[in-house]
């Protein structure tokens, strides 16, 4: 199914193309942007407090005189890293348990399904708050919290796909030939499930980035002075009326990133999910 996807599909879909370009630019910003910045994101400059955008500080400065452009660029690092790593981890865990549950069936399946449902019973942000509140705040605890919140959804999805794939004739044929369950799952089920898993993963990255931003906003994420988009909004929200740029730019950065991931996810779903084809 992955072969169906071509560069031409992408170039003929304007929003998806723009989203991909934005994501490439964001990745570049996160990787090399910090080296190009004129101002240190942590240095407070008492002579240029609350400068509006324009002039020496392109996006202005915050209440402590720190350059907002520089802080937004540094913040991209954390948002993207958390979003991508947490997605990869929760996908990995979700695929592992989803395959076991779906392929085993019976009591094993019922047991795992119950575990997945318990994790899915929590509203996502509340569970993430509960988990990150009991750990020392920081990058690791944020990623762990988001992973623990996200894995069960993937597991449930993979389980469902596995249930339907294991009834396929080619799986039956392989079983008749004496292939081990591990080989069947790895060689036959996983490759066929992969496009759908990829779609689900790409649709979820945006949500994970929003979750990271929300945790940072609530003071449970990566701690100051390290700039994150969520904490920049939280620290400056008292100035929303007098100096709105302090809040507007980090929020724009989050929105543009998440919109790009969501548009890309929609595009992949339209192309890769056969159920969406009419």
């Amino acid at each position: 199914m992955l072969d169906n996807l071509s560069i031409k599909d992408l170039t003929s879909d304007t929003p998806a193309l723009i989203a991909v370009i934005m994501l490439v630019l964001l990745a570049l910003t996160a990787l090399v942007g910090p080296f190009l910045m004129h101002y240190d994101p942590l240095v407070m400059d008492l002579n240029s407090l609350k400068q509006p955008p324009g002039g020496a500080h392109l996006l202005g400065t915050d209440s402590k005189g720190r350059d907002i452009l520089s802080r937004v660029v540094y913040g991209s690092h954390i948002s993207l890293a958390v979003g991508v790593i947490a997605s990869a981890l929760s996908l990995g865990i979700g695929i592992f348990f989803g395959l076991i549950a779906g392929y085993s069936g019976g009591k094993v399946d019922a047991f795992f399904l119950q575990i997945f449902d318990i994790f899915l019973a929590f509203p996502s942000l509340l569970l993430a708050i509960g988990i990150s509140a009991v750990m020392p705040a920081g990058l690791t605890s944020t990623m762990l919290a988001i992973t623990l919140v996200g894995w069960a959804g993937f597991a449930r999805l993979v389980r469902g796909i596995t249930l339907s794939l294991k009834e396929q004739t080619y799986v039956e044929a392989s079983r008749a030939l004496g292939a081990s369950p591990a080989r069947i799952v790895y060689r036959h089920i996983l490759p066929n499930a992969l496009p759908l898993i990829l779609v689900a993963g790409s649709l979820r990255v945006g949500g994970f980035i929003l979750l990271e931003a929300a945790l940072s906003f609530l003071g449970l994420g990566v701690q100051p002075p390290t700039p994150t988009w969520g904490s920049m909004i939280s620290l400056n929200r008292a100035y929303i009326n007098s100096a709105p740029w302090m809040v507007i730019f980090p929020g724009l950065a989050i929105s543009i990133t998440v919109i790009s991931f969501n548009i890309l996810g929609d595009f992949l779903r339209d192309k890769l999910d056969p159920r969406m084809r009419v």
């Binding site: 509340l126 009991v134 906003f217 609530l218 449970l220």
Partner: protein
């Protein structure tokens, strides 16, 4: 059918136990020693041992968990470290405010969302359709707390149409901005589902038949197509309560709304762990209970669901 409902309720019990097990484990893995915190820095070992025994913390973990369940069974959630008030009492006091906010947000999301979804479906392929679709992607991508601040900036500070924050003795004008903020995420999903469901219905033969009878387009769309497109939309609205509980924490923080969310934030800021876990547990129980009720009511309302449910 009675069998199905019984089965759902029986399956509900392990879920509830699992939820309490998770919050119990989280409470056990707290940093620092809460007893030390309660007794103070210079408390002597006897005092600490006494408090520990009072709290039951000298018992083995499984017994502590059973004690925790017994406490929950009486409708209690423990006490706040700081105010020493019963958390269950605090929740009872705050929940109505959150409920009022969430209900208004849900109404807003449903009405505007279904309206925009139908509009986009009827104008399929036009620029209006593209615009609505892009707005709905935007709605699930913008952080709730930032949207709230942006709405506050425009409508409260620039235009000065609405109060920026607070609850103002329950005046409706105070409810508008928080409700719009909280509802936008759900609204965007409602738009998407309504649109695709409407498109499917509009291509059905009976819609063509209604048109062929010479009914006006408005009648066809609103009376024939919309009614049959709403089932997935209503399911979505019923099951989306989780997004309101998540959003409430952020929205209430922004707008100074005195509900569960702000109570949770106070708990987070003071590291008042029983309060945080109380809200997490309460939110999860409300969420799963609502899902169960939605599920069961579908069984009564929609014969198609009934057949599928009994096959499973």
């Amino acid at each position: 059918m009675a069998f199905y409902i019984l089965k759902r309720i029986l399956l509900f019990i392990p879920t509830l136990l699992g939820i309490t097990l998770i919050t119990f484990i989280l409470m056990q893995s707290l940093p620092g020693d809460p007893v030390q915190g309660m007794a103070g820095e210079r408390a002597n070992p006897e005092t600490i041992a006494r408090i520990r025994a009072e709290l039951g913390q000298d018992r083995p973990l499984p017994l502590q968990y059973i004690g925790y369940l017994k406490l929950l069974a009486t409708g209690e959630l423990g006490r706040s470290y700081y105010t020493n008030r019963k958390i269950a009492d605090d929740l009872r006091q705050k929940f109505p405010n959150t409920f009022k906010l969430a209900l208004t947000a849900m109404l807003f999301a449903s009405i505007v969302g279904i309206g925009l979804g139908v509009f986009a479906a009827v104008r399929r392929g036009t620029n209006w359709d593209t615009l609505v679709t892009l707005l709905s992607v935007g709605g699930i991508s913008i952080p709730v707390f930032w949207l709230g601040l942006a709405l506050m900036l425009v409508f409260a500070f620039y235009l000065q149409w609405l109060p920026p924050s607070g609850m103002g003795n329950g005046g409706f004008s105070y409810l508008i901005l928080p409700a719009a903020t909280l509802g936008t995420f759900s609204l965007s999903y409602i738009v998407r589902v309504t649109r695709s469901s409407m498109l499917e219905t509009l291509s059905q033969p009976y819609v063509a038949a209604a048109r062929a009878k010479g009914l006006s387009e408005t009648t066809v769309v609103l009376k024939h197509a919309l009614k049959n497109s709403l089932i997935p939309v209503i399911t979505l609205i019923g099951l989306d309560l989780g997004s309101y509980l998540n959003g409430a924490v952020l929205t209430e923080t922004i707008f100074g709304w005195d509900g569960l969310g702000r109570y949770a934030l106070d708990g987070i800021l003071k590291r008042d762990y029983p309060v945080i876990m109380g809200v997490v547990l309460f939110g999860a129980v409300v969420f799963v209970t609502m899902n169960l009720l939605v599920d069961i009511s579908y069984h009564f309302l929609d014969p198609r669901v009934r057949v599928r449910g009994e096959e499973a």
